[in-house]
């Protein structure tokens, strides 16, 4: 490491040099200051000595030309002044040199400082790089170690793999052997089992069939003979042959199709290549085309018809040749086209840009128009929407709505009327039925009464009297429910069912109907009405079936 060492030596040297300068300064400054203090250099007594000293000094300074001479104790001014002048000159020179030296010193100092700084920095850098270096060295060492371990590992793994492979292969052979052995055993066992079963003459092994079935083809079975065998072989080969034939046929078809395509392609090729012929540009192409034509013209037919090896070769060769020509031609065309295109491109581009811009302009215009149109439409719409303030349109609209409403109502009304009519018709039917029923009942009652009467009269000796009594009782029966009706209302209202009054309020028409219907022919009908909201069906049933007083009473109780 030569660099740092030199720098270090530089550092160690610098302070000593500084010290040297300082000492110089001090020695030079001292006489100046001491000059004024020590005024007793020259006195009256020692003039001569002083002169001698000065002379000596001047001599030592090298000012040989001038020397002081004392002349009886007084000094002549001229040499002294000359000397002084010389000394002053000397002094000034010295001063100047000193100055120079000082500035030099300063410069050197700053240089030194700078160098020191840079030195420091470099040292740091050096340290850093040194550290980095050592780190890298360490990393490398570790990686090397790792590689070594990995290599070891790989080696061991490889060994392991080899071992395993050998194990696998040995196992495989072992297993194969075992399986074969087992299989053999198995077959042996099977054989044995078969033998045993056959020997035992398995009784159970049987087929029970009610009667034989004819063969599916209706033919009879044939004996197994050599002839049959031959026939089977023949049939098999026939089947194979037919398969091959069909396959060949399909291949032929495909082949002919392909040939057609080929021919077509050839023709196309010729047509593509031939128009170039008149162009005087390339003779080679012309030649090629003519060659092609020659080749294609006659032998192609034959080659297509023929199918021998040679013909095929010829065909493929010719095709290949043509294809190559076509390819080269195309390439040439391509290059030409690219050349031309590159020439024309710039102009075209300009053109296209112009057109483009024009188009853009036009489209923009159109867009603007469309926008305006839309805006106008919107405005109109807005106006239309905002203008219903004028009463006329509002009224008109209202009218429209009411008209619609009216129409709908009318429709509904019509429907309602229809329904009503239907109801009316039904009701009429119903009343008619009821009336008929009433009549029937009346007749029945009368019949019964007559029958009872006759019975009674037959049984009793008082025939005449009983007749009149019966009529009375019938009357009383008729009036009884009337009275009950008037007396019971509070009782009935307590029950779950509505009172006849309520019923009448709810459905006056039917209630009235029933009342009128059933009161006239039979008083019991009125009683039925009391049982409230029974369905008309049940009422009808009740009406028709309940004839006795007892049943009537039971009916009355049942709702409670």
């Amino acid at each position: 490491f030569p660099n740092p060492l030199s720098s270090i030596s530089g550092i160690s040297m610098s302070p000593s040099r500084q010290n040297l300068h300082h000492s110089l300064h001090s020695t030079m400054a001292l006489p100046k200051t001491s000059y004024s203090v020590l005024s007793a250099f020259c006195t009256e007594e020692n003039i001569s000595q002083c002169i001698a000293y000065i002379n000596q000094e001047v001599c030592s300074l090298g000012l040989t030309g001038v020397s002081l001479e004392s002349k009886s104790g007084s000094l002549s001014a001229v040499p002294v002044l000359n000397l002084l002048y010389e000394v002053l000159q000397l002094q000034r020179r010295a001063q100047r040199a000193l100055h120079e030296l000082e500035t030099q010193q300063l410069k050197n100092g700053s240089d030194l400082e700078h160098l020191q700084h840079s030195n420091c920095r470099l040292k740091d850098q050096l340290e850093h790089t040194r550290r980095d270096n050592s780190g890298l060295h360490e990393g490398e060492r570790q990686l090397q170690l790792k590689i070594k371990t990995l290599q070891n590992w790989l080696k061991s793994e490889k060994e392991e793999v080899q071992k395993l492979q050998s194990i696998i292969s040995s196992r495989a052979t072992q297993y194969n052997h075992d399986t074969k052995r087992k299989e053999r055993e198995c077959t042996k066992l099977k054989e044995r089992l078969n033998q045993l079963l056959m020997d035992k003459r398995d009784k159970k092994l049987s087929i029970e069939i009610s009667n034989h079935v004819g063969r599916s083809d209706g033919k009879r079975g044939l004996w197994k003979t050599g002839k049959m065998e031959a026939r089977h072989e023949g049939e098999m080969y026939k089947a194979l042959l037919s398969d091959y034939e069909t396959r060949q046929r399909s291949l032929m078809m495909e082949n002919s199709e392909l040939k057609k395509v080929l021919q077509h392609m050839k023709k196309d090729m010729i047509t593509i290549l031939s128009p170039k012929k008149p162009e005087p540009a390339n003779d080679s192409l012309e030649q090629a085309v003519s060659e092609c034509e020659e080749e294609i013209g006659d032998p192609s037919r034959e080659t297509l018809e023929q199918s021998c090896e040679q013909a095929r070769e010829q065909l493929t060769n010719s095709i290949r040749l043509q294809w190559r020509k076509l390819k080269s031609h195309m390439e040439r065309l391509d290059s030409q086209a690219s050349l031309v295109a590159s020439q024309e491109r710039e102009g075209e581009e300009m053109m296209s840009r112009k057109e483009h811009e024009e188009e853009m302009q036009r489209m923009r215009m159109e867009l603007q128009q469309c926008k305006e149109f839309i805006h106008m439409q919107q405005q109109l719409l807005q106006q239309q929407l905002s203008s219903p303030c004028d009463e006329e349109t509002a009224a008109l609209l209202n009218d429209c709505y009411t008209l619609e409403e009216k129409e709908r109502l009318k429709e509904e009304w019509r429907l309602f009327n229809e329904q009503k009519r239907n109801f009316e018709r039904e009701r009429k039917n119903f009343t008619e039925a009821a009336i008929r029923l009433g009549h029937e009942r009346k007749a029945f009652e009368e019949d019964r009464a007559a029958w009872l009467k006759t019975q009674f009269l037959n049984m009793t000796p008082f025939v005449d009297r009983k007749r009149s009594a019966l009529s009375d009782s019938a009357l009383s029966v008729g009036t009884e429910p009337e009275a009950k009706l008037q007396s019971t209302p509070p009782l009935v209202t307590k029950s779950l069912f509505s009172t006849p009054k309520a019923a009448s309020v709810k459905m006056p028409s039917t209630a009235d109907l029933y009342r009128t219907l059933h009161l006239i022919p039979d008083s019991r009908g009125h009683g039925k009405c009391q049982s409230g909201e029974m369905s008309t069906k049940s009422r009808l049933r009740n009406c028709s079936t309940d004839c006795s007083v007892l049943s009537f009473v039971r009916d009355e109780n049942s709702p409670i």
Binding site: K180, E183, R184, T187, K190, L193, N194, L197, D202, K203, K204, L205, S206, I207, E208, I209, S210, N211, H212, V213, G214, R215, S216, D217, G221, L222, K224, M228, E229, H232, E233, E235, M236, Y237, A239, L240, D243, R247, L251
Partner: protein, 465 residues
């Protein structure tokens, strides 16, 4: 469209006769045959034990009822109700029973796959086929019913036998190049047999009828392989679904892959439409309560649902399969082509709520149906390109290129549709719950016509508007 009343059923045994005239259901011991149109009981048979398996013969004249526990098979005739046939497999046991394509032979597989017994109803003759292999799909008949392919296992090797169904003559017997054969299936044109290995190895082999190996295909190695295989009805495509959540489509000429359909968790294909089922409980206002009760009745308590189109890219819910379990719930477990070959529906097991529909003309994703519950069952209409599916709730879902609808099953109580199948005419659907069946009749093809009846429709082009 209307729903029939509900009938009882047990063990999910309900089949429509191949001619479409009858509907047979089993209720414990009883076999009930109804007229499909009137649903009146036409015949009633009583078996000896609860029926475990039931099958119509191809000519719709006989019904086979297998009672595996007792090792019994009973056959009933529709023409002669008093005719009967009982086949007893004896002490050897019975695990599966099926008709031969001519409807005159019954093929019984005994326990431990010891042998296949062929019983003839014509001659009472019995023949045995030994060493059948116990696997995913070990027996398959050609569509014309002429040949039967049977997977066999002998000496630890897989073999395939091709029989002539007419007289059970062994036509070909060859070793298949599989480690452990899992299944085989004839192409619909009866000439190619697809054979695939079990899930440990991705291997698909294609054999000709005469036993020649036409091609073999393997998409990748060292990973779980094929999970499902389906032929297109035209035999032109073979779709192979695997555990890597992809479907590979092979062509029928070179037997090479045409394309593969991935099932990504994020759908970014802009041509696809993602229909998301959204459930909503009906909000019952006070004023429309009475009307609702009158009209909707029981659906008042069930949730309504409708489809909404999700903005792309859409996220499909994915479940993480447990890697420690065998048969992990991942990969394509079900594939089905529509009858017109135009569409392919697939289901990825780790996206159980989604059903994917692919366009086979453009070979691209067409639609994704995202249900609220795992898809239980999906079936194509045998006549038209439309798809019915169920998720074990009370709804049936229909998809067609025009849109997607959900239909609530309006039945007393809850009718949880566990599986469904179409009537052969494509006009009716039979829905099966745990113990009941219900018929959905007169389904209009044009979903838009019925949308006012059943819900909301989303048209495809609605997305582009």
């Amino acid at each position: 469209m209307n729903f029939s009343e509900v009938f009882k059923q047990s063990n999910q045994l309900c089949k429509v006769s191949p001619d479409g005239k009858y509907l047979a259901t089993c209720v414990q011991y009883r076999l009930v045959v109804r007229d499909f149109n009137s649903l009146q009981i036409a015949h009633l048979y009583t078996c000896l034990d609860p029926v475990m398996h039931m099958e119509w013969s191809s000519d719709s004249l006989f019904i086979l009822c297998a009672m595996y526990k007792r090792g019994l098979v009973q056959v009933w005739s529709l023409e002669q109700p008093d005719w009967h046939c009982k086949i007893d497999e004896g002490s050897i046991g019975l695990v599966s029973s099926r008709w031969s394509p001519d409807g005159r032979h019954v093929l019984n597989t005994t326990e431990f796959n010891l042998r296949v017994t062929v019983w003839s109803l014509c001659t009472k003759a019995v023949s045995y086929i030994k060493y059948p292999k116990a696997c995913q799909k070990g027996v398959d008949f050609t569509a014309d019913g002429r040949y039967m392919a049977l997977a066999e296992r002998r000496e630890c090797k897989d073999y395939i036998s091709v029989f002539v169904c007419d007289d059970w003559h062994l036509l070909r017997h060859f070793e298949s190049e599989t480690q452990d054969l899992a299944g085989l299936e004839w192409s619909p044109n009866c000439c190619v047999l697809a054979v695939w290995d079990n899930c440990l190895e991705y291997k698909l082999l294609l054999y000709s009828l005469d036993g020649r190996l036409l091609s073999s295909y393997s998409a990748y190695e060292w990973s779980l392989g094929i999970k499902s295989v389906a032929w297109s009805p035209s035999s032109q495509f073979l779709a192979v679904g695997s555990y890597d959540e992809k479907v590979r489509i092979l062509n029928h000429i070179t037997w090479k892959k045409i394309t593969e359909f991935e099932h990504p968790a994020t759908i970014i294909n802009t041509k696809a439409v993602v229909f998301k089922e959204v459930e909503k409980r009906p909000v019952v206002g006070s004023e429309d309560l009475s009307i609702h009760q009158l009209t909707v009745d029981n659906s008042l308590f069930s949730t309504q649902s409708k489809y909404e189109i999700t903005q792309l890219p859409a996220q499909v819910p994915v479940i993480k399969p447990d890697p420690d379990r065998a048969n992990p719930k991942i990969g394509i477990s079900a594939l089905a082509f529509s009858a017109d070959n135009r569409f392919l529906a697939t289901k990825n097991d780790n996206m159980p709520q989604s059903l994917w529909v692919w366009d086979m003309q453009r070979l691209s994703l067409l639609a994704v149906l995202e249900q609220t519950a795992p898809v239980r069952c999906f079936v194509w209409d045998p006549r038209r390109p439309r798809l019915a599916l169920c998720t074990g709730n009370t709804k049936v879902y229909l998809w067609s290129p025009a849109g997607c609808v959900s239909v609530n099953v309006p039945v007393e109580g809850s009718f949880q549709v566990l599986s469904l199948f179409w009537h052969c005419s494509g006009s009716s659907l039979v829905l099966l719950s745990k113990e009941h069946i219900c018929l959905l009749k007169y389904i209009l093809y044009n979903v838009s016509l019925s949308c006012h009846l059943i819900g909301i429709l989303f048209r495809r082009h609605a997305v582009f508007l």
